[in-house]
Amino acid sequence: MKRKIVSVLVCAAMVATMAVGCGSSSTDTSSDAAATTEDAAAEEDAAATEDAAATDDAAAADGDVITVGFAQVGHESDWRTASTQSCQDVFSAENGYDLQFVDCDNDSAVQLEAVRGFIEQQVDYIIIDPIVTTGWDMVLTECEDAGIPVIVIDRTIEDSDKYVAWVGTDSKAEGLAAGEWLKAYAEAKDISELNILVIEGTTGASAQIGRTEGFNEIAEREGWNIIDSQTGDFTQEGGQTVMESYCKSYEGQFNVVVCQNDNEAFGAMDAMTAAGVSYGVDGDVILISFDGCRAALEYAMDGQINAVIECNPMAAPIVEEVIQALEAGEEPVAEQYVPGSYFTGDDSVTSIEVNGEAKEMTIVTPELLETRPF
């Protein structure tokens, strides 16, 4: 009896967890129905010719619906939600797609299962935002055997090359941009000495590695003094705690704080306010943030954050280009970056040069905020 009750409760808990996973997507409610019709369609296709892959191509060429399976990481941040939304908008029924969306809730086992599920459903394309970088070779081989092209977005896969394309953001370029902006800003404001504190992201995350690498490259070139660099785990509390400690350790010794995401910047702002350190356009400390969620841009507009380097979650339009190229029988570009914008609250720096390319600094306005997807 006791065991039964416990097992019922455990099951209930698991169902609740799954319900949360599904809840994040509006298209999911119809996904079961879509899956069955899709299966039926696939069977018909298989009956018509023996080669499933060939059928798919033919079907697509006839202007039929293209089925895309998307195994998303989860829904841990506004950024991720925007990324999901972007996919759902691009691969909509109006655009001639049938999107099978699975929210994996940051569980890599669930993600592997999701991809296997896509193979069973015989989708035309699979999009993966890999939760972990390794352990993919086997399942990607299965995809290859089934003749389904795989497109990887955002994060990377390291132990397999059996995917046709990768689309994501260039975090090193983001780091470089932050450095270049700081250089231009310091020149504009006539600041000769830069003493920098960095609040890094989760150690080992690709964004942390790239942003650190890019920013440090500029810092080294310009001979800036990076006083300290510690991790804030990409969270607001992390940023708060690290900044609180920085304020005590390096009192009056720093004039730049670089936070590797928006949440850390919010935490750092709280901590600096509490310690009586002024920041932003009118303050003593220059604050730079990455990602560019709406709240961060609002702060940039108010002049509390000096510059926000965007990490663009809108990968789906580029993924669609890849799919269209494959549909047309062309070789897609193997590695593409989603272009990011750079935001600021004041007009002291209007453009910067990143990787030899001139980039415009966008001034945040209320109208711009209206159009932001996340």
Binding site: A13, T241, A275
Partner: protein, 355 residues
């Protein structure tokens, strides 16, 4: 000699000794880097509020200290740990913020309901979670680890559902105050102190502490002696849920948002560790609340010290682990026995030489 022995023989000696040991590292560091030796311990009033590393430790350690109260009682009464506290914190925070902001709202500058309603709602929900755990453990005799595993995995997810999968921001001053400042003292310190005081007084002034210990030592015997063992275990879990709720609201107010993915993440482990560092047996029975609280602040002292030393973020967990290993070893019974034996041998050798 006998005086020293008296001090070292005290129950709280080892936990306090360990904490002092951790902090002493900072004196060495300050001296070595040419600063004022007691830099770490200096407390000043800056910007109208208390300011200093010690204040940071007390402030940041509040959540774990609050959790440690409940965890100590649970460990003592049921000889098991409540691993759901971190998730329950997150759930309480999410529910509180959802009430304050209104369902589906992701950012608000004014409150939808009075602050008290939101806070009480969050804390009450946490109590319900505690009661759920308590019911499973006390009345269905489910192993505590298994029983609390249910909410460990589910509570965070329920929190996400409540918040519509968003991070809910409540940027309102009265809510921010819970994790901010009360006059010139950080509010979390006050909340932790009040919680500790209330529980300590109840344990001291009533026989409840004794009941909990006796249930923990032998549940059956206690029942035969006339105690309602199940009810006492149940009560401990409810208290544990209650404090988890309070800690959750403090944590959420600090960042003025309900970040259900990150609030209270891995706090259950820190809470269990603080009970262990406080010299309490995880096997239940006798407990020492003051020890657990000291353990909680020791954990925070380690974290703050590592920040102060500027230890690179990649290797910080390694140092933390080393320090914890040392502290646990010092307090381990075989080590204590060995030290006793050695000193006895020394005394014997001395005695032999004198003769």
């Amino acid at each position: 000699m006998s005086k020293i022995k008296k001090i070292t023989g005290m129950r709280l000696f080892l936990p306090i000794f360990c904490m002092i040991l951790v902090m002493a590292v900072n004196i060495l560091y300050d001296v070595a880097s040419g600063n004022f030796a007691l830099n770490f311990f200096t407390i000043s009033v800056r910007n109208g509020v208390l300011y200093g590393r010690l204040i940071d430790i007390l402030n940041r350690g509040s959540e774990i200290a609050i959790l440690a109260i409940g965890m100590t009682l649970v460990v003592s009464a049921s000889a098991g740990t409540d691993i759901s506290v971190g998730s329950v914190m997150s759930l309480a925070a999410s529910f509180c913020c959802m009430l304050l902001a209104g369902y589906g709202v992701s950012s608000t500058n004014d409150l939808a309901v009075p602050l008290l309603v939101g806070v009480l709602g969050g804390v009450l929900l946490a109590c319900v979670c505690g009661a759920f755990n308590g019911f499973l453990v006390a009345y269905l005799n489910v192993q505590p680890m298994v029983a609390t595993l249910i909410l460990y995995s589910a509570a965070r997810a329920i929190g996400l559902l409540l918040c519509n999968n968003l991070i809910v921001y409540v940027r309102e001053d009265s809510f921010k105050m819970i994790g901010g400042y009360l006059g010139f003292i950080p509010t979390p310190i006050v909340i932790a102190a009040v919680c500790i005081l209330i529980v300590a007084v109840i344990l001291k002034k009533t026989a409840l502490g004794l009941y909990i210990q006796s249930v923990g030592i032998n549940k059956k015997a206690s029942r035969i002696a006339g105690l309602n063992s199940s009810r006492i275990i149940f009560l401990c879990y409810v208290v544990c849920g209650l404090v988890a709720g309070i800690a959750g609201i403090v944590a959420s107010s600090r960042i003025s948002s309900a970040d259900s993915n990150n609030i209270g993440l891995n706090y259950e482990l820190d809470a269990i560790l603080s009970v262990a560092l406080g010299g309490n047996s995880l096997g239940g029975g006798k407990f020492n609340l003051a020890g657990s609280i000291i353990g909680a602040y020791t954990i925070q002292a380690i974290t703050t010290t590592l920040y102060a030393l500027g230890v690179s973020s990649d290797v910080a967990p390694v140092y933390k682990a080393i320090i914890v290993i040392i502290i646990v070893t010092i307090q381990a019974p075989p080590f204590k026995a060995y030290m006793k034996k050695r000193s006895a041998k020394k005394a014997l050798a001395k005695g032999g030489a004198a003769a």
